[in-house]
Symmetry: C2
C-alpha cells in the first residue's frame, strides 16, 4: 500500500478507499452483478458499493446478501442511499448523497462501527461535512460523466487539490475517471478513485480493475 | 366505534384501521401534502400512510417529519416500504408489499411496538402471512384500480369474505373503494378501508373523508 496511510479509525474499520467500485447492473452486459463483483475483486477493487436506484426493496436486499456472501471480509460492502438495506443486509457501511438521509440519522441507526461516506459537490458542502460524523468524502463529480446528470459542475483536478487542503478525511474522487486520468487524480490528492463504467462497462472487468489498481499504486510512489 | 373491536395489541398500538388514508401527492392538486392530510384528518381518517415511490430519501424523510407534526398522537403515521424513513422519522409503523423488505427484518429493527402491515394479493400470500409478525393485512387490490398496475387479479368481495374466514388479524381492503361500494366492503368483512384517490383526488378531501367514515360506521351497525 505505497503512499497511503490509513488513519486509526479507518484501519479499525478496514476501509481502504484505493479502488472503489460502484455497481451499475445495467452496464454489466452478460454478467450478473455477483459475477461482475467477483471479477472486479480479482482485479484489485478495495471497496464495493451497491447502487440500485430503481430496484424494489426486496430485490435490493437479496442482491446485497448475495454480494456479501462472495466478498472477502477485508473488503467493505457499502450500500448507496438506503439505510434500510444497509441494516437489513448488515452491510459494512452506507454512502449518502446530498438528497439522501442526513448523516447524523444514519450514524444513529448504523452505529459507530459503520463506514459512512458522503458525496460533496462543492466547497460549501465539503466544509459543512467536516462537522458531520462521516468516515470519508466523495468528491463528486470530479469530471463530467454520462453516468450522472450534467447539472452539477465538476470539481476538476484543481478543485480536488483545493479540497485536499481542507480536510484529512479520506477523499474518494468519482466521476469520469478512467485509465487515462487516474494517475493525475491520485497525484492531485485523492486517497482513492471510485469508478462505475470504467469497470462495470469494461469488456474485461477484472483486467480493467487490475490496470486501474496498478496505475494508482504507481502514481503513489 | 360500533361493530369494531380492537384486539389487545392493536389497542396498545393505537391502531384503528377504519378509514386508512394512503397519500399520493400527485393527486392532491393545489393542496400540499400536509394540507391534504389535515383535511383528511378533519374528515375522520384514522390512519395516515405516506407512500412516496419516486422521492429522494431526504425529501421523503422531511415530508414524514412534517406530517408527523400535524397529526394527533392517536392517529398512527405509517410509512410505505421504506424502513429507513420509518426509523428516521420515528413513525408509528411500516407498510410492506410483497416486493419490499421481509416482515421479520422490519420487526427486528422497528421493534415490537411498531405497527407493521403487509399487503397480500392472494390466498397463498395471506396464509403465509399468518406466520409472520404482522399487525394487520391489506387485502390488495380489492377491486381493479387505476392507481396500481392491472397485472394483479383483484380479490373482489367474495375473496374478501373468504379471507375474513382465514384470520382474525385486522383486514384493510384497498383498491377501487369509494362511496359507492364502501358499505359492502365493510359488510364483507373488512375492518377498515384504505383509499388513495377517493380522498386525495377529491375536490373536497375533508368532505370525502367525512362521507366515507359515515358510510363505514353505518355499515357496521
Amino acid at each position: 500500500m505505497n503512499g497511503y496511510s490509513y488513519d486509526k479509525a479507518m484501519r479499525r474499520k478496514n476501509f481502504n478507499p484505493t479502488l472503489y467500485l460502484v455497481t451499475d447492473r445495467r452496464l454489466a452486459g452478460n454478467l450478473s452483478l455477483t459475477e461482475l463483483v467477483e471479477k472486479a475483486l480479482a482485479g484489485g477493487v478495495t471497496v464495493v458499493q451497491l447502487r440500485e436506484k430503481e430496484c424494489p426493496s426486496r430485490e435490493f436486499y437479496e442482491l446485497a446478501i448475495k454480494v456479501k456472501k462472495i466478498i472477502p471480509p477485508e473488503i467493505p460492502l457499502i450500500i448507496n442511499d438506503r439505510m434500510d438495506i444497509a441494516l437489513a443486509a448488515q452491510a459494512d457501511g452506507l454512502h449518502l448523497g446530498q438528497t439522501d438521509l442526513p448523516v447524523e440519522i444514519a450514524r444513529k441507526y448504523l452505529g459507530s462501527e459503520a463506514i459512512i461516506g458522503l458525496s460533496v459537490e462543492n466547497k460549501e458542502q465539503l466544509l459543512a461535512a467536516l462537522d458531520l460524523p462521516v468516515d470519508y468524502l466523495a468528491i463528486s463529480p470530479l469530471f463530467s460523466t454520462p453516468t450522472k446528470t450534467f447539472t452539477i459542475p465538476a470539481w476538476g483536478l484543481e478543485g480536488l487539490a483545493a479540497a485536499r487542503k481542507l480536510t484529512n478525511l479520506p477523499l474518494v474522487a468519482i466521476g469520469g475517471i478512467n485509465e487515462s486520468n487516474a494517475a493525475e487524480v491520485i497525484r492531485a490528492g485523492a486517497d482513492g478513485i471510485a469508478v462505475v463504467s470504467a469497470i462495470c462497462a469494461a469488456s474485461d472487468p477484472q483486467e480493467a480493475a487490475r490496470r486501474l489498481r496498478f496505475i494508482i499504486e504507481e502514481a503513489r510512489r
